[in-house]
């Protein structure tokens, strides 16, 4: 039970309960405004009936030719609203818009290799690992999780324009590229 609505510039005044969590970065206002000024239909918010923000997604459309796709830049849910399938609904919207409006071949996203909860969820939504990007999250340095902590999986899900599933591959976890190549 939540309201799904477009992300608005003034939501930046309201997103503290989401963004004070350490896993969510707060960027300069230009970051949000640049997404909204180009792909407002790929940015949406889930809101409780009280008007409190629960989570949001920011996405974009990019790439050329067969690489033209929707990309999930940020997907986040406030700690108190986790485990309510909110991410699922926001992803569904983003996929629908990437498919029907942008006519992309697939949707992709990056996720920390250690984040098994998220990887499981994305796999459940039909995503699969396309490649492993080395040192994508370099800023943290090698922590407890070793390489897995700073490497990312690039996960993809084909859309209706790619009926033959050319944008995915079965052995993606073994395909390793460096962060410069993405």
């Amino acid at each position: 039970m939540s309201v799904l609505r477009p992300f608005k510039a003034s939501d930046m005044f309201k997103f503290n309960n989401i963004n004070l969590d350490i896993w969510t970065e707060t960027y300069g206002i230009g970051f949000y405004l640049s997404y909204l000024s180009r792909w407002p239909d790929l940015c949406c918010v889930q809101e409780a009936p009280t008007g409190r923000m629960m989570g949001y997604v920011l996405g974009k459309a990019e790439g050329s030719n067969a690489e033209w796709h929707g990309h999930v830049t940020a997907l986040t849910v406030a700690p108190e609203y986790r485990r309510l399938s909110l991410a699922r609904r926001m992803m569904a919207l983003l996929e629908m818009v990437s498919d029907e409006i942008y006519k992309g071949f697939f949707v992709d996203l990056f996720v920390r290799c250690t984040n098994t909860v998220a990887i499981d969820m994305y796999e459940g939504l039909g995503y699969s690992v396309y490649r492993r990007v080395r040192e994508y999250y370099g800023s943290l340095g090698i922590g407890k999780g070793g390489r897995d902590e700073e490497d990312a999986f690039d996960m993809r899900k084909p859309l209706s324009r790619d009926p033959n599933r050319r944008s995915v591959r079965p052995n993606g976890r073994e395909m390793i590229v460096s962060a410069h190549d993405v």
Binding site: L4, R5, N16, G28, L84
Partner: protein, 939 residues
């Protein structure tokens, strides 16, 4: 030299500018200007480098020279655009582009730039005219849409009279319907078209667009278009149709957007929403019957959804609750136990989710039987928990139980018992999360937050600071277990400020990594009434720096947001443009921004020598602020309040000094300082007008335009004054009395505008080597010491309020000794502020020559009395504070803090030392600062 060669020489200037080496850019420009003294581009680039190195006056000269040439070259215009933006001269930018476009009317790029210049300056009317012209000339659709949205924005602009609005929307409508291409081409054009139709209530036309297949498709894929459609249908009263549409989506598409459920609910009760005047009793009965049937049908729908989804999605269950609640409100519910049945069911299904409490809260206002049943149900929730899910259920039950406490149940004893229980349960629950990585939040955190809330309630009931300390110790302990809990930190920040330990509050604030736009919404946590804790008087600028850092975001806003408005135009994202403008405005005119500005000013005056320079500069800034309508963007909802429904919430309970800061506080302090600065300053309006660089900010404040500034400064708003603490109120009364008393002498002594301007021109010329533009200096410039025709105003004795103020402060200071450290510091810093205000007000009468010429010897001698009295009081306060700081450090100090039994005594002792040190630091710092001020302004 050939153009190519010149180009080659100019390139390094760009490189220097790009890398921020403004100095070398200036050197390179000077070299080139020797050979090409008339080159516009080099001049423009030099002006830019000068602006960027803060050499505003020199830049102005060059800037004006280039503007006079009416440049048309792309490079010059671009460079000048940056110069003018740096100087805040948006209006000149508009003129520059308009002139250029006039000279080259076929240059499309120039047209676009001219349009954008108007957009940046919010000149919607001219923007609309330019876009229309461009559409005619270049035949591009988007120019038509630019012109349409410009009209809409003009209609939305606060400065547009209401009567004009419809006309502007009609104009927009006429233009948009004249478009040769249909609006379906993209969602944003469609959105714009729909919003205009909605505004003009052209429902049939809107219907036609929406019912078309393309229209339907757009609404199905675009949330923002669907939002306008919803709004349109609602305005048209199509509640039932909307309900049917929503029902279909829920049933067939599995849509679980809560908005669809609300639409079904609204439709269910629509038959009861008839204006009461035309309803005979019988028809009301009929309507109720009809409604009861509908409620049945809707219940079937929601029940099916609830069964299908189970605990996967809570929409169905919550919709059933909302349905029952509304049925009750409308008197069509037949089943008295159903609401609690549903609540219990909801709790059973969703109780293991954190949001259960928030979801059910609106339904917990129950009749007494139901209330008992609900409480009994909650009390049966097992308090033994073996899993995290079980723990969450238990916590939710506790939250509801606390939320529904009645006033007789909230006493010091019961709250003590509760807090002990929460703390015990917290300790018991901790092991459940012991395996979680340190980056995760602990599932037991909410129990600590409940305990923290209860300690704070106890503190209010008992006025015993030890309760705050206990809260702090438990919360600090919780942070060792749950390192990332920002909710725990938020509560600690409030607690430490109340304990008079601001440096500890600041530590936690910094640990939250508040950045960017969050400064606007959250800096109140640390900066509200921060001058109470400021040690700036003795050179510790921690809080003053925090003020400045928190205001960076407003600079980013003014530099960046406009660019994105322009980008949204380029990308034709019309749905975003009004929202970007609103966002920009809310930040630009943020209440917190200007509250921090005033706090910073209060700190600054204790630190920097008070001179006419500071006074003039601050005066101009404060006057701009005074003309603004402020938006309150502060986030208080973020504080985790688990207080009983009937009690004040956590924010209200933990406000520093028990009073909220807000519009009233800001406005009152602005009045005080503007009035004092205005009296002390030589700048009157005519002088200010000539010396001002950049555009005057828009006056957005809503006030009676017949009033003069002086009248507005003297206005007393009782509502506003009520928001001040009693000590602040006394300060304001003192400030008023002081200003009223000294006004005639200031007015008599202040040099005439011509003399002030002459002096300013002289200074500028000394500094830049160029005369000040637009100012004619009379040959025999009037000087300070000139003879006046009229006699000086008779010297009157100072008013009682001024004379007695410091004595009263001394008494008040003794009175608050027994109270919290914050009260002590509040009185002390306000005493200091009162004295500094007196210094500001008497600054003009310092030079002996001024006193002599204006025959104000009598006045000045009464200053001496006030000063001596004030200084002796301040010195006493200062030494008392230092004494108190020493006392805090002695063995008698720490005794007052007793921690919780559950915690390690060493941990508690360590914390109590930290709190005491922090208190000691602030007492000592404020005390010494006061001492320093009495020395600086001893005579």
């Amino acid at each position: 030299m050939s153009t190519a060669a010149l180009d080659r020489q100019i390139r390094p200037i760009y490189d220097a500018l790009d890398t921020g080496s403004n100095k070398s850019a200036i050197v390179a420009c000077n070299k080139l200007l020797k050979k090409h003294p008339k080159n516009e581009l080099v001049k423009a680039l030099k002006a830019l480098a000068l602006v960027r190195s803060q050499k505003v006056e020199e830049s102005l000269v060059l800037c004006d020279e280039v503007l006079e040439e009416k440049p048309t070259s792309d490079a010059v215009l671009t460079a000048m655009m940056h110069v003018l933006r740096g100087l805040g001269r948006h209006n000149d930018m508009v003129t520059m582009f308009e002139e250029a476009y006039k000279q080259q009317p076929t240059n499309e790029e120039l047209g676009v730039q001219t349009f954008f210049a108007n957009v940046r300056a919010n000149h919607w009317k001219s923007a609309q005219q330019i876009a229309t012209r461009m559409h005619k000339q270049f035949q591009e659709d988007r120019y038509l849409y630019w012109s349409v949205i410009s009209s809409v924005l003009q209609a939305k602009d606060a400065s547009t009279p209401k009567t004009m609005r419809t006309i502007l929307y009609k104009l927009a409508h006429r233009m948009i319907t004249s478009s040769p291409t249909p609006p379906y081409l993209n969602a944003d054009r469609f959105h714009l078209h729909l919003s205009i139709l909605s505004e003009l209530e052209l429902f049939d036309e809107a219907r036609k667009l929406l019912d078309s297949e393309v229209g339907r498709n757009i609404c199905a894929t675009s949330l923002s278009c669907n939002e306008v459609r919803r709004e349109l249908w609602k305005r048209q009263g199509l509640v039932r149709e909307e309900g049917e549409r929503a029902e279909k989506l829920i049933k067939e598409k599995g849509d679980r957007n809560w908005l669809e459920f609300l639409a079904v609910l609204d439709a269910t009760f629509d038959c009861l929403v008839i204006s009461p005047t035309d309803v005979a009793p019988t028809t009301l009965e009929d309507a109720k019957k009809e409604c009861a049937t509908r409620v049945q049908e809707t219940r079937v729908l929601f029940t099916r959804v609830a069964e299908e989804d189970g605990s996967k999605d809570r929409s169905g269950l919550l919709a059933l609750l909302e349905l029952e609640k509304r049925a009750r409100d409308h008197g069509v519910s037949e089943e008295p136990t159903r609401l609690v049945d549903l609540m219990e069911r909801y709790f059973n299904e969703i109780g293991d989710k954190v949001c259960c409490f928030e979801d059910l809260k609106p339904y917990t206002l129950l009749g007494s039987d139901e209330h008992c049943r609900w409480i009994a149900f909650l009390e049966r929730v097992p308090s033994m928990f073996s899993s995290i899910d079980g723990l969450r259920r238990f916590i939710n039950a506790y939250k509801f139980l606390r939320h529904s406490l009645t006033s007789s149940e909230i006493t010091a004893d019961t709250e003590s018992a509760r807090v002990a229980l929460y703390a015990k349960k917290y300790m018991e629950a901790l092991p459940l999360g012991s395996d979680l990585p340190t980056t995760e939040l602990q599932p037991a955190d909410d129990l600590v937050l409940l305990a923290g809330n209860t300690f704070i309630s106890l503190w209010k009931l008992t006025e015993d600071d030890n309760n705050l300390f206990k809260a702090a110790s438990l919360l600090e302990f919780a942070l060792t277990k749950s390192k990332q809990s920002f909710l725990v930190r938020l509560m600690l920040i409030r607690v430490y400020r109340l304990l008079g330990a601001p440096s500890l509050a600041l530590e936690h604030y910094r640990a939250m990594h508040v950045k960017q736009v969050q400064h606007d919404t959250l800096s109140h946590l640390i900066l509200s009434r921060a001058s109470t804790f400021s040690l700036a008087a003795m050179g510790d600028l921690t809080l003053a720096t925090e003020c400045l850092e928190s205001t960076q975001i407003y600079l980013s806003n003014s530099q960046e947001t406009g660019d994105f408005v322009v980008r949204a135009f380029t990308g034709e994202k019309y749905s975003q443009i009004p929202q970007f403008i609103l966002f920009e405005d809310r930040l630009e005119n943020s209440l917190q921004r200007d509250t921090v500005k005033v706090e910073h000013l209060r700190m600054r005056l204790t630190h920097e020598p008070i001179t006419s320079d500071i006074i003039d500069m601050e005066l101009i800034e404060l006057k701009f602020i005074f003309d603004r309508t402020h938006h309150d963007n502060r986030d208080f909802d973020i504080l985790p309040s688990y207080q009983p429904r009937i009690s004040p919430n956590l924010n209200e309970l933990t406000l520093l000094l028990g009073r909220p800061e807000g519009h009233g506080w800001l406005s009152t302090f602005l009045q005080v300082y503007i009035r004092a600065f205005q009296q002390s300053s030589d700048l009157d309006d005519t002088v200010e007008e000539k010396l001002l660089i950049g555009d005057r900010p828009k006056q957005t404040a809503d006030y009676d335009r017949h009033l003069s500034l002086r009248e507005r400064l003297c206005e007393q708003n009782e509502e506003y004054l009520k928001t001040l603490t009693s000590d602040e109120l006394a300060f304001v009364h003192y400030a008023r009395a002081l200003a009223d008393w000294l006004e005639p002498y200031h007015d008599y002594t202040r040099p005439p505008p011509a003399a002030v301007l002459a002096e300013a021109a002289k200074q500028t010329e000394l500094k830049t080597g160029h005369p000040l533009k637009g100012i004619d200096i009379p040959p025999n410039g009037a000087s300070h010491g000139q003879k006046k025709d009229e006699e000086p105003p008779a010297v009157r004795d100072p008013p009682e309020l001024v004379v007695k103020h410091f004595e009263k402060l001394k008494m008040r200071f003794e009175e608050v000794q027994s109270k919290s450290p914050v009260d002590v510091l509040h009185v002390a810093t306000l005493a200091q502020e009162a004295y500094l205000l007196f210094i500001i007000e008497s600054l003009r009468f310092k030079p002996a020559s001024v006193v002599k010429v204006n025959k104000l010897g009598g006045l000045v001698s009464s200053f001496k009395c006030i000063r001596t009295g004030a200084i002796s009081v301040l010195k006493e306060i200062s030494s008392e504070l230092i004494k108190r700081a020493d006392f805090e450090g002695t063995s008698e100090g720490p005794k007052c803090f007793i921690g919780l039994e559950e915690l390690d005594p060493d941990f508690v002792l360590g914390l109590s030392k930290k709190v005491i040190d922090a208190r000691k630091k602030v007492f000592e710092g404020v005390g010494k600062g006061l001492g320093r001020i009495t020395a600086t302004y001893a005579s």
